[in-house]
Symmetry: C2
Subunit: 406 residues, 2 copies
């Protein structure tokens, strides 16, 4: 069996933890399996590099940020390879460029285009454990790129896909995927299984346990992903496809995202191309827009509101300020005192009453809904930040997602 394992920064935060990870890797290898291990930068390394960077410059070039930050994972792989070797196993560390993780040119949030498995295959054939630097790749110009936050998850799943691995294990500091954040909702339960689409929806909605791109990639290639803790031996949550006869949960989990801000543009022309212009300009500035709502037309003018992550408010406001005359806007407002709460379940597509239950649960708790958006398997509501916790608990109480499925 070929297993790809990924260990996050907290799992390799110091020498002791690195040795512990080496022990886990060795156990799998000694059981006769081939192992490819993907690691992140140790603990706070990335933050330390960023603060060093901030001492040097206010506006770093993104190519050079990737050059800088990719050293964090390189340190981890060297040390982990040493620790695995110390346990008597043949082992080799490889950087993203050495593996041949080819990405596009979008420095600091590159996408993986292709993985050349030749070197991986020959090192595996030589009986070696392979330790790969997560989060990084190389573009066609031979420049180092990084995949953005959570990129190591994507590295691991993409490697599993390229090698047709039997299993991909994502080791993290939580036990798996819960029906809600257990720190907020004491009776949240760990899910033994979750469907790709549900995990994707949860990941997009703010559940940080697995990066959305990693889930997309796992779904595309049908790689089962086991999300579990590196600090114990408990089974975690397996992210997978639905079985043929399986009836999906109406609601699998409740998610929340505090990193949200709303921007509303008032009184824009009600005319073809206006929304296109606004969101094209935002995309051009690299702003990721999440929810979008356009109000009903009154007298030939509209209000358009959308949400972005808190960190992108400044960029978004600059864009809107620049183009507001083009779209005839009478003004705009930004509000970052909001949060998004969501329910997710692949079964809700065949249960039309779910939205009403969501709105009912929030209304019964006295929580005002500021914005609504829906997908085939999720319903999200924007609420005041101060009410997020109550909203999550109310939704979890109402739906009591059945951990373990039917």
């Amino acid at each position: 069996m070929l297993v790809v394992q990924k260990y996050g920064g907290s799992s390799v935060a110091d020498a002791d933890r690195i040795r512990r990870v080496a022990g886990r890797v060795a156990d799998v290898r000694k059981a006769g399996h081939d192992v490819v291990v993907v690691v992140s930068a140790m603990g706070d390394t990335t933050d330390e590099l960023i603060s060093l960077m901030n001492e040097v410059t206010d506006c770093p070039r993104e190519r050079e940020m990737d050059m800088l930050l990719s050293t964090g994972e390189q340190v981890s792989i060297a040390l982990l390879a040493m620790a695995v070797f110390e346990l008597g196993l043949p082992v080799i560390s490889l950087t993203g460029p050495q593996v041949g993780i080819l990405t596009d040119d979008t420095h600091t949030k590159a996408r993986i285009i292709d993985i050349q498995p030749n070197r991986l295959r020959s090192e595996l054939a030589a009986g070696k454990v392979i330790v790969v630097a997560g989060f990084q790749g190389v573009n066609a110009a031979n420049d180092i790129t990084t995949l953005g936050r959570g990129g190591s998850d994507t590295s691991a799943v993409a490697l599993a896909a390229a090698l047709s691995a039997d299993l991909c294990e994502i080791y993290t500091d939580v036990d798996g995927v819960y029906t809600a954040d257990p720190r907020l909702v004491p009776d949240a339960k760990k899910l033994p299984y979750i469907l790709y689409d549900e995990m994707l929806e949860l990941a997009h909605l703010g559940a940080v346990v697995l990066h959305p791109r990693a889930v997309e990639c796992a779904k595309l290639y049908g790689i089962p992903v086991h999300v579990r803790s590196s600090f114990n031996l408990n089974l975690g949550t397996i992210v997978r496809e639905a079985g043929e006869t399986e009836r999906p949960n109406v609601v699998t989990g409740v998610a929340h995202d505090l990193n949200v801000a709303r921007i509303a543009i008032f009184d824009v022309y009600d005319r073809p191309g206006v929304a296109h212009h606004i969101f094209e300009e935002l995309a051009g500035a690299g702003v990721n827009v999440d929810m979008i709502v356009q109000s009903a037309m009154r007298d030939g003018i509209n209000d358009i509101a959308f949400t972005v992550s808190k960190t992108e408010v400044k960029k978004a406001v600059a864009v809107i300020d620049r183009i507001k005359e083009d779209v005839g806007s009478g003004g705009f407002a930004a509000d970052d005192d909001v949060a998004k709460v969501s329910v997710v379940g692949a079964g809700m597509i065949s249960h039309p009453g779910v939205a009403a239950h969501v709105f009912g649960a929030l209304a019964d708790t006295g929580i005002n809904i500021e914005m609504i958006s829906t997908s085939e398997i999720g319903i999200s509501c924007l609420v005041k930040a101060s009410e997020a916790l109550r909203a999550v608990r109310a939704l979890h109480d109402r739906f009591r997602p059945p951990a373990g499925g039917e």
Copy 2:
């Protein structure tokens, strides 16, 4: 003009110093010259990585050490490139592998075999300042290698050679090459020029200002190397070939090396192949032997003594202990309470009396000589460590090397 500059770890030890180096680089670029900058790891980075490594393992694999240590320079080049960009100049950082600094497979002390100048030339043609990671390269298997202590000097000179640079400047924390270590000999003078061969001899003899391999490479390709301080604008010392009509100094400088230990093997067979066997075994164990003396034969047996660096005593002793029976030895002794003092001058080859003057100066100061070795342009004596300082001063007083040549 194309200038290659190299800045050592102390020159880029923090954000302020990195910005200062960026300023120097910018000045050269703005004066219309092309610039390739080679940098070492920041200040204590390498030592910090090594202590982290020691927490993980006692016997690190050398390939993984190179993987680990090469991150230090990668951090430096990213930050320096950011600082240069902040000054408004187009700039790009490149790792050793990206430059195409091809080395052999000797991890932790690899030798440069070839440099592919394609990427360098195209980035220079695009008007960019290039910031290159010193100390590192890549072997034919695409694995990262490092060049060993002082390797960044070699990187710089090799790059200057590959690009046919007009000048190679080595910025360091001293003002240039002195007639003796100015911390020990107050009236030591800075040399405006020194010949390649003299510099090579001094470097081998313990003057740490420039790495011997860098000097060899500069000599081979005829690259003039300007050794100077990054903390002031003073001219330093130019290492170059002798002019056609130039008469070299009899003695250019006095060097000393405290990192020396002597190992003596007593009563070995006086038989062909014995010395070969000893030194082949030492070489096989990676021990670099410096001075070698074989005493006159008595009754078919010999004493053989040699020196190694203090850090290699343990390795050397293990080898000798293992092979002592093969060579018939009655025992051996190691002594690390010694130092080497040397005089160097390209002119001594035509002045046969120099050795006598060296021995005389030491004798007059009451210093016992424990071992002697000579080359065409240098004479070295092993003395007690506690007498090294007096020996250096006595030799400098005797020869008063004329800074500035004729």
